[in-house]
Each structure stands twice: as C-alpha cells, then as structure tokens.
C-alpha cells in the first residue's frame, strides 16, 4: 500500500495551492463573509483550469483523473476557505448522477459540469440526518412522471445551483427499496439560506412543494432496486470530500499556530519555548497527520473502488471531527487575544473547520456507523 502522493499528485497540489493563494486570498474570503463579494470570479477561474472536469470521464469532456485528485483540490479549497460551487457540484451532484443515473443521463448532466456551464448539488438530508433511512420526502407517480413533496435540510448551494439531485421515497412500495433520485432544476425549489458560522458555505433548507419531475429527469425510479446501495456510494464520496475540506482548514490552523508560537514573545522568550505550549503543538501536528493519512486512504479506496470504501469514509470523517475539535480549540487558545479579532485570518479557518463537522454526518454519527459495521451494536 502506497499512501503518499505521487509526483503528479504533488504537482497538482502545489499548482492548486499556488492558484488559490493568488485568486482566493483571505481578503476575498472576508469580503464573502461580509456579503460584499460572491466569489463568482474564483469559480470562473476554476472552470478555466478544468478543476470541475478533473475526475470526470473523457467521454463527457472530463480529464479522467481520480478521486484522489479531487480530494487534493478540495483539501486546498478548505485550506483557502474558498467560496463557490466546487464542493457541491463535483463531490455531491456529480457522483449522484454517475452512481444513480443511466449512462445517457450521465452524458446529459455531466458534460455541462465538465464544461463549467452547470453547477449542482445534492438534497438528501432531512433534519440533519444523511443516512438513506432518514429520507421521508415523498415521491408520487403521476403517469410516467413523478411528483415530489416534503422538505430537505442542510443542502449546500440549494439557492444558487442550476441542478439539484433530490432523494425521495415512494410510500406504496412495501417490502422493496422505495428510494428514488430525481434531477430538479434549481429554480423550481424553494430554498431558504441559513445564516451559518461559515457564510462561504451556502447552507440552505429546502421545501418541495409538488415538484413535477418528467421521466427523463428520474435518475433512479423508486422500486428499481439497488438505489440505497448506490446512494451510499454517493455519500461515501461526499463524506470524504467534506473531511478533506475540514482537514485542509485544520492543517492551515496548525501551521498558523506553529508560526505564531515561534514569533510571539512573552517573558522574554518565544511562547513556543514553553513546554506547555510545545507539547500541545506536537499533539496538533500528530492529529493533523493522522487524519490526513486516513483521509487519503479513504480517497484511494474510492479511486480504486475498494470494498473498504464505506468503512474508510467513516474513519476519515470521524478522524476529521476529532481533529477539528482539538485544532480549533488549541489553535485559538494559543493565539491569545489576536485570534479573537475579525481582522486576523484565523477565524475564517476555524469556521470552515467547524462547518465541516456538521455536514454529511458528525464524527459521532460516523463512529456509530463503525460500531454497527464492526458488529459491536445491532444494525
């Protein structure tokens, strides 16, 4: 098992980091926080660099690279607290269409993603739960069309995305897999943006008020079978991507804290020479490295479609959760007062790290998932 980035992968990382340093400085992020900028120019630049096309097949105009590459990009986006539709479009909408839809639908919906013409997202969670069993929104057949009603929570970019994959359930399919997946144009949904701690992530709640979906926009018809399994695969990808974003933010917090401990002097010496500080920084380093190792293991299981991918995704998300807890807490504490100001960049990263914890299952919910898969508790 080789868990280190290859030359090519390292090159991609450096390249992405360089682009973001120039195109997404903290000043831009702060403007988005303050509602003075939307970050649209940044997205156009990402499209120009083919980032949305990275892991898409060449058939739809993609570059045919792997999910490891996507993870690299997303980690860097987390590190830069980048705003924009990349996360939802590339790591939620795209796998939803590929895993749940037909090859024709993949061509139809993903070619515009590769070309940067369409953004998308995934509406699966309800009441903050992402597991397929929690889906209660209703899909009702009407001829060859379907009608969706109910509500969805915590949908990223629901107010701006061009296309939204909605997961809903048919109620009269007793005994069979009643889950279905539908592509709905974003402007047909009622999206309510929430005011959240990291405003660069547009987290919305959504109401489905009798939305009519024509047959050609049905990715997976309720009762078709296998939909829950396919949806789980989508969730694996989305979960690992959120872990990547979280860890990207955490690594930057760790680096800022380390630099600060070397620079800031009190009692006539750098605060990093005090052992109480030193050992905490060593622990931050350790937890960031450990979570990163699990993150890339998970990314690799997805890239190689290894049977361990589900478990690896939960391991990565659980580790990222513990990582952000420690790194955000000690990172802010060790900065002293300066960390509590709006002008200093640290808070942007702290907020991105915290936001990641709540999306696609908390660390605790992924540990619960692991407890079930290890057969420690009943399924």
């Amino acid at each position: 098992m080789d868990l280190e980035l290859s030359e090519e992968e390292l090159e991609l990382r450096d390249n992405v980091r360089g682009v973001l340093a120039a195109a997404c400085p903290p000043s831009l992020v702060r403007s988005v926080f303050e509602g003075k900028d939307t970050g649209d120019a940044l997205w156009e630049q990402m499209v120009g660099l083919y980032w949305p096309a990275l892991a898409l097949p060449e058939r739809v105009g993609g570059l045919g690279r792997t999910f490891v590459d996507v993870t690299i990009v997303v980690e860097e986006l987390g590190r830069a607290v980048a705003p924009g539709p990349y996360l939802a479009t590339v790591t939620q909408f795209t796998p939803a269409v590929s895993e749940l839809g037909s090859p024709e639908q993949a061509d139809r919906f993903l070619a515009p993603v590769a070309a940067g013409e369409t953004t998308g997202t995934l509406a699966v969670a309800e009441h903050g739960r992402w597991e397929p069993a929690a889906v209660a929104a209703v899909a009702r057949p009407e001829g060859s069309d379907w009608v969706l009603t109910g509500s969805k929570s915590t949908v990223l970019d629901a107010d701006t995305a061009d296309e939204v994959v909605v997961v809903a359930r048919a109620t009269d399919t007793a005994g069979i897999d009643g889950l279905g997946a539908f592509v709905v144009p974003g402007d047909e949904l009622e999206a309510f943006p929430r005011r959240v701690i990291d405003p660069t992530l547009r987290i919305c709640d959504v109401v489905l008020d009798d939305i009519e979906v024509p047959a050609d926009r049905v990715l997976a018809e309720p009762g078709a079978g296998g939909t829950t399994q396919a949806l789980r695969r989508v969730l694996d990808e989305a979960t690992v991507a959120v872990a990547a974003s979280t860890i990207g933010a955490c690594r930057r917090i760790f680096e800022m804290t380390l630099d600060y401990a070397k620079e800031r002097e009190q009692f006539g010496r750098p605060i990093g020479s005090f052992q109480a500080v030193k050992h905490r920084i060593a622990d931050l380093y350790s937890i960031v490295e450990r979570s990163t190792a699990l993150l890339y293991f998970a990314a690799l299981t997805i890239a190689e479609d290894d049977p361990r991918r589900r478990e690896a995704a939960s391991l990565a998300k659980a580790a990222a959760g513990d990582c952000q807890r420690l790194v955000a807490e000690d990172g802010l504490q060790l900065h002293g007062g300066i960390g509590m100001t709006w002008e200093y960049d640290l808070h942007l990263l702290l907020k991105r790290a915290k936001a990641g914890e709540a999306l696609f299952g908390t660390a605790a919910s992924h540990r619960a998932e692991l407890a079930r898969s290890l057969e420690l508790v009943a399924p």
Partner: protein, 394 residues
C-alpha cells in the same frame, strides 16, 4: 498513491510465505519453552535464528554473508508483514538483532564483528543494552558509570538499571563515561562487556505485574576489567552510537507495533460483542464509542505508517516517523485501559482463564513499558516540537 504492491513484490511475499510455512518454529515448541526475557534464547529460538540466517531471511536487506539477500526496502516491508501475520517472532533478542549487531557492523573492528555481531546473527549469543542509570534516564547523557583506562584495558565502576534481559545476555553494550572533564555528550564511550566478567553482577528487578519475571535488572560494575579491544568505535565518541540501529529498517519498526495493535483490537472487539448486549443502553453506547475510538486510532496509525514508509522508500524524509512511537504506544495503552473497563468488576481479575494469559488490567500496567522506555512520550513530544517543527528549546 496505490492500494497494492507490484507483482514482483507480491512474488517475493509468496516466496517468503512458502519458506515460512516449511521452516517456522511450531506453536508447541514455542509454548513449551517460552523466552522469559528479551535476551533469553531458548533452544527453538537459537535454531530458528540460525535457519533464517542460513537461508537469507534474517535481515533480508543485508547481503547473504550477513543473513540476507539484498532485498529492497519494500520487500523487507512485506517480509515483516508476513512474519507478523504468521505470529512468529523474528528474534527473542530484539535489542541484539535490531541495535547491537548493526552498530557493531557499522563501528566495530573485524574481531568485534566475528566475536559479537556474527554470533548474534547465528543465534549463538544475545546482548543487552546498558544505557539507563539511577541518575540518568531521559537525560541519558548525564550517565556516570566510569571506565578508566588502565594497562591494556578499562576498569569499569558504576551501575545500570532497567537493563532488559541482563540476566540472560552474553554481553552488554555498555555506555560509560571515559572523560569526566569533557562536556557531557563528549566523554562517553561504548564497551562490549562479557556478562561473565568478574565484577559484573546482575540483580533482577521484580516487575510490576509479574514479580517472578526477570526481564528488568540492575547491573553493578565493581572494578570490572574490560580489554581495550572491546572499545567500540572511537574513544569518547559513544554518543554518536546511541542512535544506531538497523538503519534500513528504521522506517518499518512501526509495522510490528501496528499489527500488534490490530490483533489487540480484534480481541477487544470480540469480547465486546459478547459483553455489550448485556449492558444498559447508555453504558453500551459509551463502551461502543470508546472501542470505536480505539479502532480509528489503530487504523490511523497503520495509514500513517504506510505513508511514512512510502516517503522513505522514495528517498524523502518522513517526519511522521517521529509521531509513531508516542502515538502507537499510547494507543496500545488505551486499548488495554478500555479492555479492562469493558469488563466492569471482572476487569479487576488478573488472570484470563479462557485465554490462559494475563487479563487486560495487568497488560494495561505492562503497556506503560511502551510509553516510558526508549524515550518517554514526553521526550517524544519534545523531539517532535524541537526537531521536526523547529520550536525553540525551552
């Protein structure tokens, strides 16, 4: 980044696996005559070491004359995986094979190689490491055991402590002070001292959970005479030898630890599957959460290990290595703590009758050996902070 190894590496693995199947010591041999200290060589262990040496499987990365086959690092890695999987100890004298013999090859004379290093490789001799003293633990360089040049040799006076295996070892890799006037790191030398030298006495230190166990010892030196030919490397340059070990395997020592973590976890999970259903809901959830946290740690240690190995194999540096010692030993300790707590009042029992071995609580106390020896967890954090992260010394 890849999940699998190349075919050539996998065929190396099959070759070793087949050899191992035919040549490994049997479970019966091993349990009938277990090694009772880290320098004890029971008959089966002597024969096993010799067989590995003869067939080039003792240190695969070394040339045939040193018990190897010039294997590549990644081949050594799969070799270690296979040994762990078969649950066969590579040696019952880890400090001899892993630290003492390689240091003698690196710094020793031909005579020292043939009298001390080769016999270790052939399973004929074992060695102990005489570093720590009552007044010199974490601050090893403050050691005060004296070796005074006299005639054609040295006269040694002083005391070592925690010397693993001293009561079984044939010789000691002894750090002593040869220049008391030099700065503390500059006046230290290493002597190879036969344990039957007059003036060397060993007093076993009864162990925290097994008072009858003789692994830890005090070693006293009273006017012990050591020939000058037993000085390893240069006089007063002993500190440079303190860090020597199987250099090409240094990036892999985590592997055994991680596989031990995995098998300990498997045992914990198996017992938990029986115990958890009997617990009230809150306690069940709490215990399951503790166990899953251990699982995350074990898998993280494993991924971190493979990642650092990949960096080293590409010729880069792997700062993760510095983290592995503290993190693995602390995870190991936590597994045993969780294991003992899982059993409630039964966790107080010292003997696990079903498995016929010490129960969790005793192994928990034993596990502090990992977080204390070879540089405590606190010292590891100092090293990470100062040498890896560049924080100023306090």
């Amino acid at each position: 980044m890849r999940l699998t190894f190349d075919d050539t590496v996998e065929s190396f693995r099959s070759t070793f696996r087949a050899w191992l199947g035919e040549n490994r010591p049997s479970e019966e041999e091993m349990t009938a005559d277990p090694a009772v200290s880290s320098a004890h060589l029971p008959g089966w262990a002597r024969r096993w070491t010799r067989r590995m040496f003869d067939d080039g499987w003792l240190v695969p990365g070394w040339p045939p004359e040193r018990g190897g086959r010039d294997a590549a690092p990644v081949e050594t890695l799969v070799y270690l995986e296979e040994l762990e999987r078969a649950r066969v100890p590579r040696t019952t004298n880890p400090q001899g094979l892993g630290i003492v013999a390689p240091s003698i090859f690196e710094f020793g004379t031909e005579e020292q190689v043939s009298r001390y290093a080769m016999p270790i490789l052939r399973g004929e001799k074992s060695a102990c490491l005489g570093m720590s003293e009552p007044g010199a633990g974490s601050d090893l360089a403050s050691l005060s055991t004296r070796a005074t040049a006299e005639g054609d040799g040295f006269v040694v006076n002083g005391q070592k402590v925690w010397t693993s295996g001293a009561s079984h070892a044939d010789f000691c890799f002894l750090f002593c002070r040869t220049d008391p006037d030099a700065p503390k790191h500059k006046g230290i030398s290493v002597l190879l001292v036969d344990m039957d030298t007059p003036g060397v006495t060993v007093r076993p230190l009864p162990h925290i959970t097994k008072p009858e166990q003789t692994d830890l010892n005090e070693v006293f030196f009273t006017d012990a005479v050591v020939p000058a030919a037993n000085l390893l490397g240069q006089l007063n340059n002993g500190w440079a030898l303190a860090g020597a070990s199987l250099a090409h395997e240094r990036g892999m020592v985590w592997l055994g630890t991680v596989m031990e973590l995995e098998s300990t976890f498997d045992r914990l999970a198996a017992e938990a599957r029986e115990i958890l259903p009997r617990l009230p809901a809150f306690e069940q959830a709490h215990a399951a959460d503790q166990i899953v946290r251990c699982y995350v740690d074990v898998q993280a240690a494993k991924c971190l290990g493979y990642r650092s190995f990949a960096k080293l194999a590409r010729g880069g540096s792997a700062p993760e290595q510095a983290l592995m010692k503290a993190f693995c030993s602390e995870s190991h300790r936590r597994l045993h703590l969780v294991g003992s707590e899982l059993h409630g009042d039964g966790g107080l029992d010292v003997w696990d009758a079903r498995r016929g071995e010490q129960a969790w609580i005793e192994q928990y106390f034993n596990s502090f050996g990992g977080t204390i020896s070879a540089g405590t967890s606190e010292i590891q954090r100092n090293i990470i902070a100062e040498r890896v992260l560049g924080l100023p010394r306090g």
